[in-house]
Symmetry: C2
Subunit: 342 residues, 2 copies
Amino acid sequence: MANKVTLKQIAQEVGLSPSSVSLVLNNRPCRISEENRKLIKEVAARNHYVPNQIARSLVMRESRTLGLIVPNIESRFFASLAGSLEKRCREDGYALFITSSGGSADDDLELLRQLVTRGVDGVFLVVGDEFSDDRALREEVSHLPIPAVMVDRAIEGLECDKVMFDHEMGGYMATRYLIEQGHRRIACLVNARRSNTGRKRLAGYERALREVGLPIDARLEFESEYYIPSAYEASEAVLATDATAVFASSDNIALGLLKRLHEMGKSIPGDISVVSYDNSAADVLFEPALTAIEQDPGVLAEHAFGCMSKRLAGRGGRRAEEVVLEPALIVKDSVLDLTEYS
Amino acid sequence: MANKVTLKQIAQEVGLSPSSVSLVLNNRPCRISEENRKLIKEVAARNHYVPNQIARSLVMRESRTLGLIVPNIESRFFASLAGSLEKRCREDGYALFITSSGGSADDDLELLRQLVTRGVDGVFLVVGDEFSDDRALREEVSHLPIPAVMVDRAIEGLECDKVMFDHEMGGYMATRYLIEQGHRRIACLVNARRSNTGRKRLAGYERALREVGLPIDARLEFESEYYIPSAYEASEAVLATDATAVFASSDNIALGLLKRLHEMGKSIPGDISVVSYDNSAADVLFEPALTAIEQDPGVLAEHAFGCMSKRLAGRGGRRAEEVVLEPALIVKDSVLDLTEYS
DNA sequence: TCGTTGTCATCAATCGATTGCAATATACCC
DNA sequence: GGGTATATTGCAATCGATTGATGACAACGA
């Protein structure tokens, strides 16, 4: 293992003071002779000198490092968000410290503290989606010594920059589309019991129905966790109804539903229409391709970085900024157009 | 935004010196009166004091932070590896700095430097799988001032701790199993042109054939990138052969193959048997469940951390440690047993 | 010879912790 | 009261950088 080369060592070798070396290597405006300038750079290069960021950030009070906390890095959506965000950060010379909390508010808190004490300049925070007592977390975030941007999910009653997709709108758009295609008995399969976003998507679904005067039928609303097996279990009941279409409020839920449909020999959209959420790569496997509400993680990352960037530059307003992004309806082939037959 | 509380401030408030506060808060053996001890702890707690890790690691020369570089965090396997590794690190009080390089050796190099200058105590390195000129990277790794552990992939000719699955063995096991089930015409679909691991899996496939005296038929060896569409394209040719079974050397390759099989109305294992690699979650969707070679990222993480841990404790030998893990054959229902019919 | 100007480079404080060594205070003994 | 032990606490250097304030030296003019 090689040793770390320090400023002082370079200085010694060149025969100048550490200050001069620092000045030159950082291209600070200063009066150092061209000759010595060259010498310093050459010696630094020859010794593979890289400044110790730890020491630097101690005095500079900035590390050009940002932090990201996601509930679960193994989730496709968060992994993709993390990837996009990291790329975006790097473009501006920031490194991104990605951490994964497991979804509990306690772990979020712990990681947040870790990041802060490790000197990140700002934090992107994706909190768990389940209802939980996040008072401590809220408290911590509001007293943070660095800017924070909440991504994809919010904590109620917390004044903080937020960037998120409109989940209610997503549920609305999906349902609205089904209605426009002539469907009247529309089931939904959502995680409303334990998920905030699920609850919002359900609200959108109901709004769409209400808007056109369709009844909100509790017998058409089904509950599922965000796991394929859970949706698979729940799907049997869904298929026992007279619904002609189903709004599946997440990709995993759609996959569980599809598996069940497949097994029962039902065809899409012949026997039943499906609108999914958050197209994942697994979807490419399906015939027909799934019509879905799509949330591009890249867009989320872009806006989140934008907010952060403003704060870091001190250009953020006093009040928190709130960016609400509209998801997109991607029409493919899993919805039958009933109006053609009328 | 709140301010950061420093040791000195606590000291001031308590009316003692910073040293005393530091000593007490770190539970160092020292003779500070029980009374003051309590006072210090109470004041620190009241002010939500958290030590500045930046300052601490500067003097302690350790940060209790490790770094991980993966080619692509959006890949399921790496995301899972990252998740497991982070959990494992946290158990030992280390934070993990996850970064994603995009797979180029240049970016790997850049990230590696970033991590080092940011003071991580060690690096887990998963390099890109494609052939590339990694001389600079090799050079850098061998001169690193901190321990490094290469995970899942190696750089040729680099003396460095390594933890990886035996890809050749995986290819061998898959093929061997097919042979044992009575198959004689076995095709394979691998990424041997551009991937090191692909090439190894192919070697395993050929060894299994050779071992039982079956001919190695170039007409049964097909090339595919690690993307679903690529495998989908390549699959048509595979199905035009007289093969009774296919060894698909990655999960994505298997998925592309399945999509094509599905479209052609072929059934598994009735028309053709399939052994996949790296079961991904998407597999749960398939009927029948896929027999596959499995590499548990958790196991990889566990061993990688073990190596790192040893090095950090100074218990590592002079020579590099090399851990080769055997993948597991998970038998499910995608392979037809031809011996039953004999 | 002294003062002025300009050029090149260094000093020393600072960031927020840690820690070996020294210092002070009190008690106790003869 | 002088000497020694013991119990508490503080000083100051250190980690590796950054940076405003200062110093040294030469050349030049008066």
